[in-house]
């Protein structure tokens, strides 16, 4: 029952987010528009799915673990660190 409720609420949240992103944003920031603008800026689970992976900080941290685990590095380099730019 709880799972079903969570799925329904998640579906509603996604629909609200999609509907908001298609509509023009509020003209002004006021107490009345605060929550809508905040919702538009709040990152969704889909947008943050990459955070389910533990990205090591920098080549050397990755190298230490890659050598110990005998695995290749999947190395993502981007100006300013890719984890900030989406």
């Amino acid at each position: 029952m709880k799972t079903h409720l969570c799925v329904v609420l998640l579906g509603v949240a996604i629909r609200v987010n999609l509907a908001l992103s298609a509509a023009p944003p509020p003209e002004k920031l006021t107490p009345a528009t605060f929550e809508e603008i905040k919702t538009r800026l709040t990152l969704t689970g889909d947008e943050l799915a990459w955070q389910k992976v533990h990205w090591r900080d920098g080549f050397f941290e990755g190298l230490l673990e890659a050598q110990a685990a005998d695995k290749p590095l999947f190395y993502w380099i981007y100006e300013g660190d890719p984890r900030g730019y989406c």
């Binding site: 992103s21 298609a22 023009p24 944003p25 509020p26 002004k28 920031l29 006021t30 107490p31 605060f34 603008i37 905040k38 538009r40 800026l41 709040t42 990152l43 889909d46 947008e47 943050l48 799915a49 990459w50 955070q51 389910k52 992976v53 533990h54 990205w55 090591r56 900080d57 920098g58 080549f59 050397f60 941290e61 990755g62 190298l63 230490l64 673990e65 890659a66 050598q67 110990a68 685990a69 005998d70 695995k71 290749p72 590095l73 999947f74 190395y75 993502w76 380099i77 981007y78 100006e79 300013g80 660190d81 890719p82 984890r83 900030g84 730019y85 989406c86």
Partner: protein, 338 residues
Amino acid sequence: MKSRRFVCNDPRVRQLLEQFIPTADNPQQYRLVKSTRAEQALEYRLLYHALMQTGFRRGLEDSWHVQGMYVITPSGKLLAGGNRPMNVESALADMRKGLEAYAAMPRAERLLARAPHSRTDRMFPDRQPPRPPDGGLVLRSTARGLDVEFVHEQSDLAPDFYHIDRLWYTREEAMQFLPSVLRPGATTQVTGPVLDGLAQLYLMAQGAGSHFEIEHLKERQLGSEVIATNGHAVSLRLTGRVVSEADNDVIRKKYRADLLGYLTYNTAEQRFTRFDLLAYGKHNVPASQTKSGTPASMPLGILFTLNPTNVNDRQPPRKLALYRWVKLKAAQPGAAEQ
């Protein structure tokens, strides 16, 4: 979802990543290597050699201009990869190609002869990674353009993209959000580096300059008012406005933002348990990022919240090196050089 994160948000990519050590990096720290000792460090040599095999050879030699996703062995050999961060199929193909090549390599070729020393093989063995100030306030900022008309869809300023960063305040700085008396109706003005640093480093879209000079801040005001108390919980409202304008060779940005925020401070725990501050207003858009090819302005929002606990959120502010310049105190010794 057209986010640049598209590749790493893809479930197939995330599943394949289990066979790798996923690593994120920023070229800036290598760009600052000036000494022969650092250049000869295993950390630098291995990476430089691997990236010289990419299409960024010239950029690397000139100024460490390099980006992309690559499969690299612990021994420093480049196996696959490229700079197509929004192309999932390409990333998947590179990952599979890299795994096949790795599996086919003799152990002595794919691994270093000895394990790297966790300190002495670093470029800067005595440098400590920057840490947030003890007892301070750690916020995450999320910036997103909300225009649905003018900006072309591949622009960083389109709503499908976002930019996240961290903001560190010392405890002393964080306390400036609180009036001296925590009773309903009590007010204070947030001034000095706490507001100026926020405006100079964070209240802007990405690109075309990293920071405003103080003289670029045409208006800046932020007030804090206690709106309610409930036991140890003190609820506050922040209201204000920042207008910034710069148009020179270093920075070309204009942002007129209203500020509104809701905070909760717990007097028993002596910490903020809620921090939701919004900046919202019109920001200029360069012609290169508009559908029409002419300059425009668009709604840009920036949300500051308490930093989440995900391991990937444990990152220092990107502009920490500029903290001293704007007189924010959270930059620690050594951080400015990083």
